[in-house]
Amino acid sequence: MTNSPRRLVRVAVFVLLSAASAAHAATDWIGADQGKLHLTAGFSDVEGAGGAGLVPLAFVTGYGSSDSWGANAHVTTVHLNDFQLGAYGVGIGALDRFELSYTRHELNVTGGPLDGLGVDQDIIGLKVKLLGDTLYKQDSWLPQLAVGAQYKKNKGIKDAAAVGLPGLTSPTQLGADDDEGTDYYLSATKIFLGQSFVVNATLRYTKANQFGLLGFGGDREDGYSLEPEAVLAYLFSRKLAGGVEYRSKPENLSVDTEDPAWDAFVAWTPTRNISLVAAYVNLGSILGPVTGETSDQKGAYLSFQVGF
């Protein structure tokens, strides 16, 4: 079981690399103009939306300008003390206004009493840029604004028998209300080009427990809550940015004293077809009351991306 995500990563990386080399030559006849500047295409975040690592930005994914379209695929792995999350997906951006994305999450427990357990989830995302053109309108205080929705479907808990919990197949058995849910968010992004800073604030209306991996709503809180998220990034060069992200999360379950997440990242676009995001990430404690491990789950976040 632990081998299959790795094989999937290898296959995906190979496919994406081939796609990247083809993309450069193919963009002419598929009508993709690759018309945006480096770093302004938005990396695929952990849930597949054009963003940084944990937080969606108001940028539309892909290098297509407002006359064209683009796409970006990502293979992401997050290694924490007792968990490993694989995220694989693809996003398409059209007219620098609409974004559609699909991402698969595969979470594996790699340590502690639940070692061997797994949870999968699918995320379908839609984003629409509402207004603003933060790159060009340097003479305006208006940020770029986008709204988005992410439909998340938890595919269930795997291999619970291995940890002595046969019959545990759904996060609803852990107290979650539902195994599917939709997040809604509003992102405001501003490029302070004169200061070489990018600032983003996001408000997310969500019921998701640990991004949805532990279901939606719960025995403690069953409704939606409004959670703030933020990104502050410094532009080191035309192709390299680095910064910090913060993401607040709801606390809906008694079995999980969910903490806010944060990370410090670098994002690099050596070419328009390849980009990398590397981060030190801290997701706070996960399932502390169950595992007895209440210290923060922290570690490395690495995302390899190709697009045009």
């Binding site: 018309g35 500047l37 407002s66 006359d67 070489s196």
Partner: protein, 162 residues
Amino acid sequence: MKHTTFIARLLGGVLLASLIAGAAEAQETLYEQMGGEAKMRAIAEEFTNVLLADPRINFTFANTDLAKFKQLIFEQFCNLTGGPCKYTGRSMKESHEKLNSTNAQFNALAEDLYIALERVNVPYRLQNKLMVMLAPMHKDIVKKGATGKPDLSPPASAQSAK
């Protein structure tokens, strides 16, 4: 919640540092910080070289008087950055009327300018300060639904640069 305070402090620190740096620089014009007339002329020269080597947009310069173009770029950048120059060219709107420039072409030109500034060793921080002044020209240069195919028929007036 301890992370919130940590991030807030980090944000505060970074913003404060950039404010202090900004205040110290405010004494000098961007023109002076970038290196004055010699540097501005080198930028205009290198920018022109990069543009002419870029197949995404070089064809739009087919009928351009390059000596005049370089002079106008120099004047424009000098003037915008607070240097002692007057820009004697046409408005951006006027000079790009027949170019039918697309977003991708505008961004290609911006990228070429970044490359030129790199080549003449202008620090990235200052490159961005120049870009801040140029970016809003997007609205005068790019028209909705532009074809990207310039009308290069000779202009009626003698003023043909760019």
